[in-house]
Symmetry: C2
Subunit: 415 residues, 2 copies
Amino acid sequence: MSAQPVAQPVQLPEAWFNVAPHLPAPLDPPLHPGTRQPVGPDDLAPLFPMALIGQEVSAAPWIDIPGEVLDVLRLWRPTPLRRAERLERALGTPARIWYKDESVSPAGSHKPNTAVPQAFYNKAEGVTRLATETGAGQWGSALAFAAALYGLECKVYMVRASYRQKPYRRVMIETWGGEVVPSPVDDEDHPGSLGAAISDAVRDAGARADTHYALGSVLNHVLLHQTVIGIEAKQQLPGGEQPDVVIGCCGGGSNLGGIALPFVPDADTRLVAVEPSSCPTLTAGRFDYDFGDTAGTTPLLAMYTLGHDFIPPPIHAGGLRYHGDAPLISNLVKAGRMEAMAYPQGKVFEAAVQWARTEGTIPAPETAHAVRAVIDEALAAKEEGREQVILFNYSGHGLLDLQAYDDFLHDRLDA
Amino acid sequence: MSAQPVAQPVQLPEAWFNVAPHLPAPLDPPLHPGTRQPVGPDDLAPLFPMALIGQEVSAAPWIDIPGEVLDVLRLWRPTPLRRAERLERALGTPARIWYKDESVSPAGSHKPNTAVPQAFYNKAEGVTRLATETGAGQWGSALAFAAALYGLECKVYMVRASYRQKPYRRVMIETWGGEVVPSPVDDEDHPGSLGAAISDAVRDAGARADTHYALGSVLNHVLLHQTVIGIEAKQQLPGGEQPDVVIGCCGGGSNLGGIALPFVPDADTRLVAVEPSSCPTLTAGRFDYDFGDTAGTTPLLAMYTLGHDFIPPPIHAGGLRYHGDAPLISNLVKAGRMEAMAYPQGKVFEAAVQWARTEGTIPAPETAHAVRAVIDEALAAKEEGREQVILFNYSGHGLLDLQAYDDFLHDRLDA
């Protein structure tokens, strides 16, 4: 192996990787909240186009990406795979740290990878308007971007704490022509949560025939669309470079799933989910059927959960403030195929600043959770004097989260 | 020529393009403000390293880029050259619009292209601290980024109007370890200007032996470093694609110079500078010797100027609020080799939103001036029914300027 491996050129994948056939245990089906029987396509049809409902339950190992979707993804994909050599030197570690840079998308995160196909499939089936929720705003801005490119209307229910704390993402949504309101819509004093915003958006979509709902994480088809990240990364890693560990931050699980699911069949590769200590779904939640939203209107999902009425504290990594986790991620953690760890935000921002001053880019607070875990893995490798290949998902930049850095740098951040 | 030309792969250039041998008329030398005699290297040595002073007056057609500089530029270069096909379709124009995407740098603009070599040459000559000015913050954040990567201290004097209007760029500077204060330092009620901030920074550097000054635009060596943009673009354009017109926004002239100077020898290619109507240096200024700063401490430069005491209104494109222009750009405009035009900011933001909703990315307010001119060129081509190849510099993203979009979208923007 070369001492200075360089990422390989790569083509945009033409199919998504479906992890379903590779799961260690069968996936528990979503249940109807009234009957507690498995939901069928007809139950979901008011909310989603049939193409996505089909992907949600598909057992096919690969699913073709439509050409019209590839045409838009090509605006920023394939994304770069880079080696963090400056960070390696600063840490004095023998580990080799690779990162997949999903921050280069127009919305600045991995979220457009699924926003684009969701907008496409909805438009193809005659829907003209999408409703969704957003936490920190990454998903809402990504969907507004995709809706603009396909000429769809877009209504975004934004967690009130983020709406107030992060006005710039609201402006992004509006710049792309979307409409955004703070959630919950019926309680102006409530800081909001992803679960409550989902309730608002589902209610909107259920009430209008021209409108479907779009979810930015958790569901199988969302994680499916994100697998372009891991598929590209596998091709970009130089010959012989097999990751010992793949790391991603985890809120609902979409960016983690995107980079990790294609590595599930590789038994020698560890998979690691990193979450905030203040919303420790995988590390301190229970595995159970629970609602995806606060109001209890969605199907029941088999997942790790803190309870659908859990309101996490308003930490800066708004994208990680979710009471549950993707059933696919929960399945892997429950079976022992994926590990999970949690960090307090003070340690996370320490890592983020170290990254910025060595690698030069400023990560999103969510992404910084992965950076923290990567640094600790690399320091452990140094301690033990072993080579290690670390791959992680640089899921988004922090240029719209600089208030959090300001708080950290001036000692105003809750640990 | 193919109907769907695709940008070619490209290597990072290993030398900068020096336009000096290609100028239509000799460059007027900078003059000492006291004696009005041409300044010599000794006059500049308290402020700049000898390597940069040498580049300032070099007649060599190409100047090698040091390997240590290439190692850092490689973090984000070569930058993509993309075709704006969605915008073309929306305009219904036969023009082909190519753009060089400089927004992908860690600081989000073209500015690191010169911040990196400036930090490198200063460090190589034993300097441990840099002082500079910044308008909207692009240059200050770029220099703080470069200083962090070379382990230098960095002090930034930020135009007060931007310091207040754009706190996020201050946070970027601090995240990279730089120190930032509002300018002018001696008048808290003054909105500031680039010229006044230059005075502050030059004073700082002159007073400390460990400190040099770094300028983000105007000077020959700065424009030289930016020519990587145009050199790459020339190589990336598909075979047979020769730009009929090259467009860039112009404040001090560095991003425009970066893309346009390598095309100066191509007589059939028009070169166009776009500036704000509220700071119309090239379109309404006079060509004369004037100071680079407000206090009259810099050498006298031969350039278009609105007078060194001109204080432009606080428009959102802070990077274009400069009373003068690069001598190289001024020379080209005076000789008729380059055209200049000016737009009011309302028309500029209209273009920016049209770009965001078709091409998907949100341009910096400065960059949006170029977008406005590009759209008008493409519409003129449509009117006249002629094919036209347009190349422009997408000099930075607007993710830290979303307040300006908010003002525009909600009718709070001065026209």
